[in-house]
Amino acid sequence: MKHLSEEELILKHYGELKDEELSAHVAGCEECRAELMKLDAQLKQVRVPGVPELDEGYETQLWFKLRDQLPERNVSKWAVWGRNCAMAAAMAVLLVSAFLAGRQSRNVVNSPVVQNNQRKVDRLVALAVGNHLEKSQILLIELMSQGDNDKTDFSATQGQARDLLDANRLYRMSAAKSSDPTVQRTLDDLERVLAEIANSPSDLKSGDVERLQRMIEQQGLLFKVRVVGSRIREQNNPVPAKQQGTKL
């Protein structure tokens, strides 16, 4: 019978020999098995150096190097429309996974891998929430500084509030899985106000702005958003080693 070619042996070595007849041949043919073992031994010697350990703050350092290089995007209407669709899809996925997680939570295994993944997810949630709170803060400040008689167009603000509201729902549910109740409460409060802004009539009557402002004020919302936002930012941008007690 015909022995395997070098190419077939290479495929076999990498587990990509699809021809079952050939695989069966190797199993029964001493000559081919010897050839394969020789190839295995040779290829085993070919190693690349191990990837060096990276600093804990690697991601943060990289981000600060990258950020200023990122050009502003020209945003088209289509992009915004697509974004809303993506957000809706993301919400749907989240709801389903929250449902499944709820059903499976009794069997959750606390393996290191699961814990590690959870840490990573927590960090990503924190990054996203930090960014979200920053944007919400800008919106709240704008609203608070609006005079009752300002004839500014409210529809743009409402559009922003609607986007933020969608994102807020998503992050609130993601944060619900993390252990920080302050973040959770802040997002709760923020969501009520965002919903109020989003659902107000776009031709705001005198008194409407004041009502929204009072609502924000009574909850101390701006303060909470600022405090929680900056705390998350500090956690995400750890100060380099010198402040952590490492010698310079």
Partner: protein, 190 residues
């Protein structure tokens, strides 16, 4: 995690630059690993990591929400590596990994490999391999690393490098053959 990423993609596309950080954070280490495995050099890998994320940011509107972001960015990284190696080759500085890792002068073999083969695991063998690696073209090097180190299938390699499957297969074959030629005398003289 994928939900967060999908949201971040959507936000970046709507003009929120800072949302890109979520994606950088989630994938920075994986991209660095690919780049390091291909170049064997930390500075080069760092450069490729930045280029990869810049490219991803600029072409984010071409990312299809159905696919995984990790796969998408991996492919971008692989192509950045390839470009990088090509540039180095043209500049005449294509000497990647021709110096063995100083901390690993002998290659460790798993214990069940004890026996005459162990003698091959010398500094000399490592030098030969390193030299053989520099004989590979950038495409051969990348395709081989994808197959041999990253465990990517021929099919995935062909997709990542945007070449036909047969071409990917032949590229891997060529690389293996060149490496074997370098190792052959050692096997013969054992």
């Amino acid at each position: 995690m994928e939900t967060l990423e999908a949201t971040a993609v959507a936000q970046v596309l709507s003009g929120d630059r800072d949302a890109f950080r979520v994606l950088v954070d989630a994938h920075a280490r994986a991209v660095f690993s690919v780049a390091f495995r291909m170049t064997g050099n930390k500075e080069d890998a760092d450069e490729i990591v930045q280029e990869t994320f810049l490219r991803a940011y600029k072409s984010l509107d071409r990312f299809e929400a159905r696919s995984k972001f990790s796969t998408w960015i991996y492919r971008i990284a692989v192509n950045r590596c390839l470009d990088f190696l090509e540039k180095k080759k043209i500049a005449g500085t294509y000497t990647i990994s021709d110096e063995p890792d100083p901390e690993e002068n002998t290659i460790q073999l798993p214990s069940n490999d004890a026996g005459p083969d162990r003698l091959l695991m010398s500094k000399e063998a490592k030098m030969k391999i390193s030299q053989a690696m520099t004989q590979l073209t950038p495409t051969e090097r990348v395709a081989f690393t994808l197959r041999h180190v990253d465990g990517q299938s021929i099919e995935e390699i062909s997709r990542a490098l945007k070449i036909r499957e047969n071409a990917a297969k032949n590229t891997v074959f060529r690389a293996v053959r060149k490496l074997r030629v370098a190792l052959e005398p050692m096997v013969a003289t054992k």
